[in-house]
């Protein structure tokens, strides 16, 4: 390769590199400027943890004989269960807004007119959405982990390994909910419909199906069954678990990422703008 070619190639690479982050940055800007959405996300993640530990602290202070310390492993486990459910709801709100926001405001047309690939426009939404959801969920998790350690008193505290695996698992379930919502709303083009469908699925249909033993191994195809397979053992004891291999769980998770995104991408690329 000649010097000129190498310089040209490097220069092209350098000019290309910032384009994707700019697009991601633009998507993130659209999200973070939606005050209602940001407040809802915080209200579903950070605020419940603040309230939960404040109540636990007050109860413990008022009657230490009846109520144990606010922190500790047991309360951490309970907080994580709550946070994972609320985090999923927050992720659905964010994902649905991301997927349908441009379409409903009419700006999708203006973006298409730039000549930019529709697929690139869709792809930029994933990291932007994860940026908002994981920041909020991460802050809530930090609060939970800190409170469960600082206010543990004589109780067992969650170990470093559990904290790391719990954080990773929380990021996984909320990230998956975001991708699912993004894909569905990109396909449907409607934020409200997506939120309705996914909340109904996530909070009502899927838990019911998980408990419906007659479905047998078909339940392995449910996202929650796969994510339960990966959750830290010390966190959720006694929940319904569908026995499945790690490989099967990973395959199911991959399918729940690929299929909704593929549907969303297909619709984004084919719809009239």
């Amino acid at each position: 390769m000649s010097t000129t070619t190498a310089t040209t190639s490097l220069s092209r690479r350098l000019t290309r590199v910032p384009r994707r982050p700019r697009l991601v940055g633009a998507e993130f800007l659209k999200l973070r400027k939606r005050r209602g959405l940001v407040l809802s996300t915080l209200a579903l993640t950070v605020v419940p943890m603040i309230i939960a530990y404040t109540v636990l602290l007050i109860l413990h202070a008022a009657n230490p004989a009846k109520y144990g310390p606010a922190g500790g492993l047991e309360n951490f486990s309970g907080s994580m269960e709550l946070l994972s459910q609320l985090g999923i709801v927050a992720a659905i709100l964010v994902g649905a807004t991301l997927g349908a926001g441009d379409q409903s405001s009419g700006v999708f047309r203006e973006l298409v007119v730039t000549g930019r690939s529709r697929l690139a426009l869709l792809a930029a939404r994933v990291p932007a959405g994860l940026g908002l959801v994981l920041t909020a969920v991460g802050a809530a998790f930090a609060l939970t982990a800190g409170a469960s350690t600082v206010f543990a008193g004589s109780s067992d505290i969650p170990g470093a390994g559990l904290l790391v695996s719990s954080a990773a698992w929380l990021a996984l379930v909320t990230g998956l909910a975001l991708v699912l919502a993004l894909g569905v709303s990109s396909a449907l083009g409607s934020r409200g419909t997506t939120i309705g469908i996914l909340l109904g699925w996530q909070l009502i249909a899927m838990p019911l199906l998980l408990q419906f033993g007659a479905l047998g191994s078909l339940r392995e195809g449910l996202l929650e069954a796969a994510t339960q397979r990966l959750e830290p053992a010390k966190l959720f004891e006694g929940g319904v678990t569908v026995p499945m291999s790690l490989t099967a769980a990973l395959a199911v998770i991959a399918a729940w990422i690929v299929v909704p995104l593929a549907l969303g991408a297909w619709r984004t690329c084919t719809r009239d703008a």
């Binding site: 940055g25 633009a26 203006e110 007119v113």
Partner: protein
Amino acid sequence: MNIDAGTNIVETSGLTKRFGARVAVDAVDLHVPRGSAFGYLGPNGAGKTTLIRMLLGLTGASAGTMRLLGRPVPAERSAALARVGAIVEEPRFHGHLTGRENLTVIAAARGPEAHGRIEGALARVGLARRADERVKRYSLGMRQRLGVARSLLADPELLILDEPTNGLDPAGIHEFRAMIRGFVAEGRTVLLSSHLLDEVEKICDEVAIVDHGRVVMQGSIADLAAGGEQTILIATSDEERAVALLAEHRAVASATAAAEGIRVRFHPDVDAEPAADDIGRRLVLAGLAIRRFEPARASLEQRFLEITSRLEEAA
């Protein structure tokens, strides 16, 4: 800007769009010369917006071919649209973002060089001082101007404006016209779709008249207007006698008194110039004082109505 002169910036051939059995755009062959203000004129529902949407890749064509800036579309759509700015129908924005932020979003899609054009574009459309207000507080006129600013982020060789003055007040319309002529003066091409004859006539150099999805006539405004009926206006000291004299003239199809004088329409096969000379001589010889004697220039509106009424009669 680097603009090649002398070629068509938009070319379509047999471009067709069907919605089920309905044909919205019917085998359109369009040639928009570079560096001109080109009007795409037709009544509402004639298929103007659909054609623009196909050019911009917002919807697919059912048949035919298109070239934008010499590039085939949709095959090289991305490269072609990199130097195209457009406002399709009412410009849309994220209302919760400021004007500047809305431009940032579009600049991110266009590439790094577009970011450097944001301030200049805002200044050019007179929105620099209000750029940090949320767009949901903008008036329609401000949104239109922001739409133009957004189009300028591409440093466009071609600006496609679909009914750009809809909803603007007279001052806004005047300002908009001046802006468009300014773009043309810079060597850019403006393709303006409108149902307003007056607007197209005042802004554009060339025009295509479209009706029921078909281009029924295309050319310069002057040529199209000249292709209409041959008419002269005469004012004399005795209109009654003049009308009687004119009615006897072989070349005259009709002579009718109007507020501005007598409108004399020649037969289509008559050479108007010698006929007008002869009429002038006869009026003078008859002892009439001539106060006005001039060709009545057919407006684009008259021509448009002639064309569309002929089509309606033929239908």
